[in-house]
Point group: C3
Chain length 351, copies 3
């Protein structure tokens, strides 16, 4: 934790790397606190809570970047968070869990509902790009304004859908997200060692520190990027997303290794879902306050990456069981996408 004061004296690249390192132990604390809290609140709410706190950092980074007009980085980090949670976090969790258990089971209906919501989100994030490509091919009639209106309308639909999803998960069908019978079978209900208030306090403090580190990180990112020879899209989609989701990361893997695959899936997929249906719309709305409206038009590689990731998690979680090979499959696709974004040349246009 002391690391956070050091970077002030170093150069930008050192600050960037130190911020990254500092987030790892903080994420560990967040994971621990969330796990304790989840013991008190049940799996569904616990998972939701973790996803919320994990994404608080992303929301703050996004807002800061927007205030500086860096819509490109913000959009790349939205895509990166979605695929990072689905492919990297979930892949490592399934692989980690699968190394210990031959087969892990979880509630199929809940997993399918989340996967379908992700598909909806993937369609929503594809549409502005489809519009852009189609409208650009029809001379004269198209302008940027229409594209922003389209994105704004889609953001509203996503936001309302998110409210429905919360109503489903927390009110009408909460039993689907409650403690799975499989989970209980593996492990006797342990006595929680932290109280609710202690867990809450640790969670809030750790989240605040993660957000602070993230701020240093974003501030130093431009300089570090050119020093390390990475493209903007690679940093946004891969680096920032990996760091920004370190919290979900450690918790999801931890849960999977305790054979609580339902909670693990709830955290990782729930986080992707929240980025797409809550963080992305809020960032679009906020961009109007900052005077530099952000649309939801992504590049073709980003659209393909999101569609591929969402399809894979549906295929893997649809049968209510996982094994180590499925973890490897998710990680392979992540690696292939990371290679794509690494080799992809910079966009030359001004936007």
């Amino acid at each position: 934790m002391v690391l956070r004061v050091w970077p002030q004296f170093g150069n930008e690249t050192a600050l960037f790397i130190c911020s990254c390192l500092a987030i790892v132990p903080l994420a560990g604390w967040m994971g621990r606190a969330t796990e304790e809290l989840a013991e008190h609140l049940g799996h569904g709410v616990g998972g939701l809570l973790n996803a919320t706190f994990g994404n608080a950092a992303e929301l703050i980074i996004g807002l800061m970047a927007l205030s500086k007009g860096l819509t490109g980085v913000v959009k790349a980090s939205i895509t990166g968070s979605i695929i990072g949670n689905i492919l990297l976090v979930m892949g490592l969790a399934i692989l980690g869990g699968g190394a210990k258990f031959s087969e892990q089971r979880f509630n199929k209906t809940g997993a399918r509902a989340s996967a379908t919501t992700l598909t909806l989100a993937a369609v929503a994030l594809t549409i502005p790009t489809v519009f852009h490509v189609t409208a650009a091919g029809r001379t004269g009639a198209w302008n940027l304004m229409t594209e922003q209106k389209l994105s704004l309308a889609i953001a509203v639909v996503l936001f309302v859908t998110y409210a429905c999803v919360l109503g489903f998960e927390l009110i009408t069908h909460k039993q689907l997200y409650a403690m799975d019978p499989q989970d209980q079978g593996e492990e006797p209900k342990e006595v929680s060692s932290w109280s609710i208030s202690k867990s809450l306090l640790v969670l809030i403090v750790a989240t605040a520190l993660v957000a602070l580190m993230s701020e240093f990180l974003v501030g130093a990112v431009e300089a570090a990027r050119s020093a390390l020879g990475l493209t903007e899209v690679f940093v946004g989609v891969i680096v920032i997303a990996v760091i920004g989701n370190a919290a979900e990361h450690s918790t999801a893997v931890l849960m999977a290794m305790k054979n609580k695959m339902g909670l693990s899936l709830g955290i990782a997929v729930g986080s992707s879902l929240q980025i797409a249906l809550f963080v992305a719309p809020v960032l679009v709305f906020s961009s109007y306050l900052f005077g530099s409206p952000m649309d939801l038009e992504f590049t073709l590689p980003e659209v393909v990456a999101v569609v591929a990731a969402v399809h894979l998690i549906f295929q893997i979680s649809g049968d209510g069981e996982t094994n180590w090979l499925e973890g490897v499959q998710l990680l392979s696709v992540y690696l292939i996408l990371a290679i794509l974004f690494f080799y992809l040349p910079e966009r030359v246009d001004a936007g």
Copy 2:
């Protein structure tokens, strides 16, 4: 019903709106008659029957539009009917049913067979567009004639596949589409109040009147469109498709609210399937009679819309159960697609 004589005296936009309104009660009658008939014939045949009568209107509209050379509108209404049935009709049915029942079940194998046929149809309708894009990029070698031959060949394959699907549903595996045990459990077999002949008569008369109204509607569509400031593709994909499928609409929602989700799905998905595998090929064949050959090359937004809709219904129906959130998810995607088609500028080319 008296409404149908009024529009003659009004202007085009009024005629357009009145035709729309007139179709609603007629669709109600069709729904009632079909339901009565379905009681006599069993769910599978009943669902098929309803889809056939629902699509008779579409076929007639399509033929009339073709005779006037309006291939653009015809193609848009094909896409619109497919996504309208899957997303709007099925979305409302699942939401309506889900408001009353926490979980609704139906035969999984039948639903999966329909979903796979829809995927096949989506591939078939994507191919001419893929051909167009690829061939257009290869100078010289391409011409419109080849594209029409390709579409004709695909129409033949779809038509033959449809015959196979009917053989499967009505002969070799009809038990999959018979009265579901779940449906029977909810409701005692009620005594049918209409005879077969009365049901049939009402069905035929109502269908004829719907077709007539549709004719007024199509005739007035151009004038109304410019008066209301809507694009051609929006009217074809959204407005005409919604009106043209009002019959399936009311019946499917009614059935879902009676917890007969199997029949509801059979109507909505069966209707989409029939549009793609029967109406579309017949329209392609007929276009040669009218001397203005129609191909099956759709725009990118239409292809994306169909693929997204077909994928979503597969995800939702693949596990043999539905809940209200799945209805919301289908409706959200419909809304997002409607927004896309609303903002999409007109195609500027002559075709």
Copy 3:
């Protein structure tokens, strides 16, 4: 078998056709030998063995074509083998089996694992094309070298993933691929009539002869192609792939008709999987030895074909049961794709 000496005296087109005909009985011998061997070794290893021997021919054809610098034909035959095995072979097997049995069952988890690996492969084979399209739109920054590096990196990921898949199928989860209880129920364990060594000998000799025939075939393909008026992509994707997979073909259909659907699926899907994850990477690696590096950038129609085929087999095999209609659906899509490749004009660029 005597046919193989005749073609030497005929012209190129006759040689082409005779080679094709010669492969059919040889494939029958391979099928028989593999079946015998599978009796000794169990279904999983038997299926893998058959896929390996079936693809030895493809690998040899590929290497010979690469040595002549025909990367276009090699890439087309990779795509063609993947879709041919999934759509044509599996389609005929399911239809053949479905003609005798109303419903055929197999291990769902194994089938889903294979389908997910195929999805991964489809994503991997899509990425270089996405890169190409995106990078080509960004002036200046792109060059062919980067594209080759990207393809090489993806080939490495695929190769490593294949090793993991083998570890899963043969070591950690071999029970999923073992003799299905359903299969045993249908047919009493028959006494194997051939010994392991006899089976092995026949298998090796038949494979060698198939490879030899394939060589004649490839040598004559150019002349035959222009004589018959077929495009290069049609010959690569459809003709060579059909002949090259005749072995899997006859065996898979034979197994399906004996109601051993698990083995049938293992052969056809396993063969596609091995082409994508083993043969394709090995060909990329080898292309560097021949001095004409091959990338994995496919044309849009090829990418769409692979994605469609992979998605369909996932939909069809995901529920662990098949019926004849699913065979018809696969064959319809194959037919539609064959029509597309038949009408598609030649690529005009030099590559």
